[in-house]
């Protein structure tokens, strides 16, 4: 296990309510939650591996497979829904060949479907690598995706 991870366990082992912060910070290190890291967290916190896995799978934030180079979150909040977020999914699927919830075959993109990014007055929106793109149309998103895919 990486040094950063060992240091993390050391820093947090005595803090009460440490399970979720540990999982979050582990994901920051690896980009996902490796099985061995979850076992290690279980040993550190004195809980069973099943309990740690149970907590991790309960929350939408945690991933159990490595992420693509770029993470795209497609917002499906109410405002985005009424402003046509479904057609953004169609564009993504046709341009990148995968439906939300998956990684592209080349590992460039991870596409996630999220409940609401809270930028409702700019609907429909997607968040790519932490940056929000708003007032999208299918055409606009297609160009943005192509631009990022080309490394621009």
């Amino acid at each position: 296990m990486e040094q950063a991870f060992q240091a993390l366990l050391e820093d947090w082992k005595a803090v009460k309510g440490n399970v979720i912060p540990l999982l979050q910070k582990t994901q920051d290190i690896y980009g996902y939650l490796p099985l061995e890291a979850m076992r290690e967290i279980a040993r550190t916190t004195g809980k069973s591996a099943a309990e740690i896995y149970g907590v991790a799978t309960f929350y939408a934030q945690f991933r159990f497979t490595p992420m693509g180079k770029h993470v795209m979150k497609v917002c499906h909040g109410t405002a985005c829904h009424v402003q046509g977020a479904d057609s953004l999914d169609t564009v993504i699927e046709s341009k990148l060949g995968v439906a939300p919830g998956n990684n592209t075959a080349d590992g460039k993109f991870t596409i996630e479907r999220v409940a609401c990014l809270g930028c409702c007055s700019l609907a429909p929106v997607v968040m790519i690598d932490g940056e929000v793109y708003g007032r999208l149309t299918g055409d606009k998103l297609g160009k943005i995706v192509a631009g990022i895919g080309d490394g621009k």
Binding site: V19, V55, Q61, T78, V82, G118, C119, G138
Partner: protein, 601 residues
Amino acid sequence: MSGRPEVAVGMSSCGIASGARVVFDALKKEVAGRGLAVDVVETGCVGACHAEPLVEVRQADGRKYLYGNVDEARARTIVESHLAGGSPVADLLIPDDYTYLARQKRIILSNCGVIDPESIEQYMAREGYSALRKVLTSMTPEAVIEEVKKSGLRGRGGAGFSTGMKWTFARDSKSATGQKYVVCNADEGDPGAFMNRSVLEGDPHAVLEGMVICAFAIGATEGYIYVRAEYPLAIKRLQIALRQMEERRLVGNGIMGTAFSFHLHIKEGAGAFVCGEETALMGSIEGRRGMPRLRPPFPAVRGLWDSPTNINNVETYANIPHILTMGSAEFAKIGTEKSKGTKVFALAGKIKRGGMVEVPMGITLREVIFDMGGGIQGDRKFKAVQMGGPSGGCVPESMADLQIDYDSLSASGAIMGSGGMVVMDESTCMVDVARYFLSFVQSESCGKCTFCRIGTKRMLEILTRITEGKGEEKDIADLEELAMTIKSSSLCGLGQTSPNPVLTTLRYFRAEYDDHIRNRRCEARKCKALIRYAVDADACTGCMLCARVCPTKAARGERKKAHTIDQDACIRCGLCFEACRFHAITITTGREALQAAGRNA
């Protein structure tokens, strides 16, 4: 603030997404290039999201000018003409009597878009922490609670319980552990709501000050603010604010030199809607799956780590310093008899001017949507407004004169909720909206209660069938029966309120359900299985745009000749309709659509 002129850029998430950072950099560069004695500063959300990026010029003489829809070129014009030349750019100005802003009553948002949210000095220059000082130096905890009670403040998280009462319960509760907690619910999970994000991003200290005052009032020594991880900027600004408080001994041991100590932690949520429910939220802080538990005992008796705990929403805490500064009597003058103060709403959907508005309780929906929000995009017909997210309901156009207060909204079948207002027009299908919310709560149900876990699944299946044109007459009765059973047999608010979007749409838009079931028609032309796209050969110019955007190559044709849509290949995504500049794509539904499918237009 300095005596120098300032130019402030609204840098909340929405502003940044609209290009505020580019504008900020352009202003900085231009001001520096011209050697002007002007400060370029950041501020929070002004609230007029529809006009982002927003830039405010604050002259040394105290006059202020707000510019909307600023881009890089316009930023340079503002510097050249206004800052250097002294004459405001009239074309870009948002007028002083702009109803969107003029009709607001800004208490919670009084600092948002005014101060730099990362500067505690600016917060303090506007009476920040003076309420806390007053409380710690001249009031007893009981007197603080009495003020909050007299103000009539009710919880802004949605349910509308008296805040003063809640605090009394927590204060009176004996702690077996010797510990009490203050928790702020900033897990704003309702899709379509972003009020809390804007307050946290624009004025984080106000929320934290409210929490410290609450801690003093109930006798707590530790607190948590639980923020959803989807709000990275809010988290960052809270971290900065907390550090500044620590430096100035506004939190920690011996606050403001008194004997009162209170430790505050920021907790990042991990993405579970149910954690907006208070017992689930506490479970999540403790590091467990966020599953609600039976109440009573209420958190005031047994909450976080089995200790008495007070949980309030972001906006509730943000009200506290204002109440103590202006006095409960002054606060209670605002609003209606039973709903005091103001409420912040997030206006979104098919509305011309979306954003954040803070209005006095008692204002009507029509005033908010039409007078302030400017009405419906494209001047289409207003159909309904969804309030309160998945726990709320759709209020129809015919009830637009409904007064906004807790009790009137509950009577309509909707709820105040946390303040999301999503406006819908004739192109929104109400059955599809009901299905959308059901699919949301179904996937967010924690799974503890059978009726919520399985009942919402069954309801979703029925609704999906109806939107696919496979509905049956008995579906409506089944939906109603399931809804009532889920309401009465679920433990927490999520389950109990999850059928509300279905029940309100059934109550106000029953004809639309019937139309789907009996005529296979979707009047709004939204349900994919019930519509067909075709090209109006007379209007089509053969520009080929539809063919270019079509993901399945169903739209095709030769340049300058009318195009066609292959019905077998068409997946009805609507991209051609959205792209066509000549209104040449038509959408039919019901009998016409069936005929269109037959002849493969």
